[in-house]
Subunit: 382 residues, 2 copies
Amino acid sequence: MTDMLAIADNDDLALQTVRVDLGARSYDIVIGRNVLDQAGTRIVNLKPGARAAIITDETVGKLHLDRFRQILTDAGVETTALTVPAGEASKRFEMFERLCDDVLAARMERGDIVLALGGGVVGDLSGFVAASVRRGMSFIQVPTTLLAQVDSSVGGKTGINSRHGKNLIGAFYQPDLVLCDTAILDTLPLRDFRAGYAEVAKYGLLGDAEFFAWLEDNWQAIFAGGPERDEAVARSCQAKADVVAEDEQEAGRRALLNLGHTFGHALESAVSYETERLVHGEGVAIGMMLAHEFSHQLDLLPKEDVTRVERHLLDVGLPTRIQDIPGQLPPAETLMDIIAQDKKVSRGNLTFILTRGIGQAFVEKGVDPSLVRDFLSEKLAQ
Amino acid sequence: MTDMLAIADNDDLALQTVRVDLGARSYDIVIGRNVLDQAGTRIVNLKPGARAAIITDETVGKLHLDRFRQILTDAGVETTALTVPAGEASKRFEMFERLCDDVLAARMERGDIVLALGGGVVGDLSGFVAASVRRGMSFIQVPTTLLAQVDSSVGGKTGINSRHGKNLIGAFYQPDLVLCDTAILDTLPLRDFRAGYAEVAKYGLLGDAEFFAWLEDNWQAIFAGGPERDEAVARSCQAKADVVAEDEQEAGRRALLNLGHTFGHALESAVSYETERLVHGEGVAIGMMLAHEFSHQLDLLPKEDVTRVERHLLDVGLPTRIQDIPGQLPPAETLMDIIAQDKKVSRGNLTFILTRGIGQAFVEKGVDPSLVRDFLSEKLAQ
């Protein structure tokens, strides 16, 4: 038993903690500028004596790996670093196999830690490795993108892509700790920050009109890195944590988190996940617009709400229309095929997240596919 | 919603049901001669409308696949069959990837079923596929070997091998139903039946002296296929289910199930898992003997108990000594290296299952490795 190390007392550190309440698998998300400086002591306190296999990608590795390993080493945590190429292509079987083998080659035991230092790709891939090596090792996430901080690091979804689609192979596996250093986001390209922001806006749109209004007033400060950024990350994590705690295995309410994602995934797939054309958050932004427009077409939602959503997304610089994606897109039929193979399909019916207003999204099972096809044809023709 | 189909009322079917109690993940193991005839109706009742991807191996497929698919088809269950080569070599990444892809190619959804028809290899591999495709599909096991019926189909351990060792990559994943048809064991080669019997004997040895005594009296009837066989399978499943219900993630008591397995795995690894020389159950039989002898050497166990264990294992035709393994074996040092890399190692200490008598096994953490090495050297020299 190691004595608890004192967490550095630093007035500059104004931290927020979101507790994800999942019984024995509950964990904390600690959010704040420079929380990374505490990573070593926090890990030692949580898992005394454990070693850590840090999985990162080449881009994040160059920026943050040396400093991060030093922080862990200083606290007495022995580390091994495993680096994968940056980008979605790393979420594949071959990389999963290589990482599992490398973690085992480092003689990591069940109580040792797989630590994801990176964005969503690194987190998803590392989480599946952590879930699978020795049928489950400890898992800590240090998300380095806004998208990963507010989305992929909360909720335990891990996995890789298959040639049949994104995230089709994986596990529900909860981390033991998530550290969201909002200062690290200063190094993020603007396009990636915006893409992550699409998910922040999503939490307002799906269930919290007051939060959406707050975002309309405060988005500049969030982009600039003020305390509002921490607040936005914390409220987003809390929103997701609340849904996940209620419905860990995505039987019902958790599907709300897919607002904008059915259309968004289809568009990402339609451009073969070429991030030069479309990154995930941009697909979500366009997908959320489509979900609101489709809901309006179904007479669920007043036109003013659609306009308000579009205005905010345009304000922050996000795309809102299919036509904003550069290059040729496939016809509506092809998009429908992609949607049908999407993992949110249940027994041939289409499940969509629709909305009755800002903050009033709901799960609609059994949407008539022909309505969706007609809607998409119309949008593609605009 | 489909109406419940009537389960065929057949006086020949004297079934036993063992309930594995794991909260929301509880499931039944139904045991008896020709329970397979009810597979279709039971699946329809449990998962109305679900389709099934049957995973089997070439050996079992030749014997049972056509009949089994017919039983499912007759009940209205749509099936796809996926066949892997027979043998441990199929528990590898490449096969895991191929099966995941094939299940997705068959457009299986989350509510559809991965059905394992085969022995432990098929069950372990299929279970990991079921756990991973779409982050968890339904999973049903139809174990066709005695070993799989009493061991690998209970408890939710699934996985594949890595070049660093057996079962090092996988998931804890519970099936929705297990059907143990004891008549199907009539087609099993005697050597395989004996190997499975080693695990049956293990349940007596680890915690139930009365069951061990019953086995000493009834083993011939178990081998011959009488109602005693059903009884032995049911009591073994119940014994394992009790331990698993108490300790699903193998934090403590579940380790008792590894009686004989640390030595056994080391021997299997030492012969490179060449089943011509040693199959798993034979390794367990020799491993159980070694565990009893080692416990005796530590003054934990009277010599008479060691003799009694050996007599019973010899009676049923199982090997009991390292020297029973044909061919050359590596020195004790090499076996120790294998044991150290075994997944039951915790922070450099050796954890062994020792025993104070028939039915009195216990978990001993922190066994001095030099004692084990000396014991193995001695045994190898005999």
